[in-house]
């Protein structure tokens, strides 16, 4: 068995998040792998549909939930189209976990602010559930999540749960024009809602993921509030094949997303050359 050979996983659940976004719940076929498989929040893997190929996604479920993994993806290319077409019970492949992780231990005892846009909630959701499953280890939890329209919001059932929890402050928003008549959330772009939510920066960490333009305008807002760059965390993605530093395509200048990332601080991001 070489390092490129995946574990076999069975599709246990298939959830249509939006018109073009799905979530798959995958359980390891091999009992021993299911028992021993472990990962850290923020790590990624290579998912495959045999015959279509492999694709890179973060693990969207939390490491506190054992025996299975979930991934959420938008249907855009060859493999994601094949993944949309799999059925519950089908066998797929998974290699991983790869890459670094969010510094959960360092965040213990601090406030955590989650900021996500669109499908960018997938990697953030992993950390959200990690925090909520060990809720007593963290202080205030704030979630700001936005999408272009109400129809583009992912994990709607979980947003509802988080909204009901007294120990979570949830802000959902859609871009102006994206609201429906019965929309109860905010209307406006994510950076503006972050300003409105005004989480305190003292002893706080921010986990940010979404479209580049959202990240670009959110980081200055956080810095203005007093967040330091080493406590603003994000996760990057780039096209990958191997996931383990050999195939040579995910590097941004000298930085390998697969080995040095996918989790980076805003401080590290600021040093990256303009190649992502």
């Amino acid at each position: 068995m070489n390092v490129y050979q995946p574990f076999r996983v069975r599709v246990e659940e298939k959830i249509a998040e939006t018109a073009d976004t799905q979530t798959l719940k995958l359980r390891f076929l091999d009992e021993d792998v299911a028992k021993s498989f472990d990962f850290k929040a923020g790590q990624f893997g290579e998912y495959s549909v045999f015959g279509a190929g492999e694709c890179t996604f973060c693990i969207a479920s939390s490491p506190t939930r054992k025996g299975y993994i979930e991934c959420s993806f938008k249907t855009v290319g060859k493999v994601t189209n094949a993944m949309r077409d799999v059925e519950v019970g089908d066998v797929m492949g998974f290699r991983g976990p790869y890459g670094n992780a969010f510094p959960m231990e360092k965040m213990h005892g601090g406030n955590v602010v989650f900021i996500a846009g669109g499908i960018g909630l997938a990697p953030v959701r992993c950390v959200i559930w990690n925090v909520l499953d060990e809720r007593d280890k963290y202080k205030d939890v704030t979630i700001v999540y936005g999408a272009r329209t109400v129809a583009d919001l992912v994990y709607k059932r979980e947003l509802e749960d988080w909204g009901k929890r007294p120990d979570v402050k949830l802000w959902t928003t859609v871009d102006p024009g994206g609201e429906t008549p019965d929309w109860k959330g905010s209307v406006g772009f994510v950076p503006a809602i972050v300003e409105k939510a005004a989480p305190k920066a003292d002893n706080s960490w921010a986990v940010v993921c979404g479209p580049p333009v959202m990240i670009k305008y959110t980081i200055p807002v956080l810095k203005k509030m007093g967040f330091t760059e080493d406590r603003i965390l994000t996760t990057l993605e780039n096209r990958m094949k191997c996931g383990i530093g050999k195939c040579g395509r995910c590097n941004i200048g000298p930085v390998y997303v697969c080995k040095d990332g996918p989790v980076f601080t805003a401080q590290e991001m600021a040093k990256l050359p303009n190649e992502f």
Binding site: M1, N2, V3, Y4, Q5, P6, R8, S48, F50, G51, A52, G53, E54, K74, V76, G77, K78, T80, E87, G89, D90, V91, M92, G93, N238, R239, K241, C242, I244, G245, K246, C247, G248, R249, N251, I252, G253, P254, K259, P273, N274, E275, F276
Partner: protein, 351 residues
Amino acid sequence: MSTTTFIRTGDLKGLVADLRAAGVGVAGPARTSDGAVDYRSITAFDDVVLDAQPRNSLKQFFLPPTEPLFKYQRKGSDVAILEISATFPPRVIVGARPCDAAAVDVLDHVMNWDYKDEPWFGRREATTIVTFACPGGDRSCFCTAVGLGPDATRGSDLLLVPAGDGYYVEVVTEKGKRLVDAYPKRFGAGAGVDATLSYREKARASVEGHVPARPDVIRQWVQEHFEDPFWADISLRCHGCGGCAAACPTCHCFDIVDEPETLTEGTRRRNWDTCQTSVFTAHASGHNPRADQCGRCRQRVNHKFAIYPARFNDILCTGCGRCARTCPAGQDVTEILNRIVAMATGQGGAA
């Protein structure tokens, strides 16, 4: 290992015959049907051509252009994964060039970076590299600028240098020693190192000075000039064909794809790839972090002379010059490196 021995030309022919008789595969630089010289399987030492640099490098013996990783078979919703045999038949490469032998050693770093690439190391262990000191190169050669030379031993198990009626043999590794010990009658006393000196000096003189031996200067300039008009300038010549990467002994980037063979079964393969095409980094969304040829040409130089050195304290180039000889547009790595050194040392940008 620093022992030496000697092999007569007649015994070298005999050694190849002995190896073949023992069921060991032998490869070396030999004429192809179209008259070129490639590293390929040979049946006798007489096939070996030593006075021309082979078109290909040794790369394909360790990282084949296309390689099955495993096979899959669907049965209804289930899938079986069939492993590919990880045992590799023994092989001896006779007549490797020092630049090509060194390249394999350079690539060991990345192939063992936290995760061991088993097919690579399986072939590495099964292969003995018998290198012949290079007789000298052309104007595209610059091995001495990257810490090597026409008689460098790096990556070789044995290094042979012509002397008298045969070859002076430097036993470089344990594996090389095992080969010598396995055929003791083929090796023996002969001309000493002194008899090899003029050959070595002549070869070195033919490649020296083509590129300044300043890898640290090149590395620093590249690291500090990610944004520089130089990259756009050199990229104007590039067609993005990736011929340089295919010919290169150290370019190792690969793609992983599924190749269905029937409706229910197929093979996952890895295939050589190149950073010189736009699809290499293109996201499915349409976004491409390296959107133009400028970024791709920079990546190739950056990876070889700055990124790899920063990661592994080694240069991802052995100065073989194949990229310059291969390029249909005349992109010349020696010109690129000369211009970088000139800019870094304040001597203008002209080649």
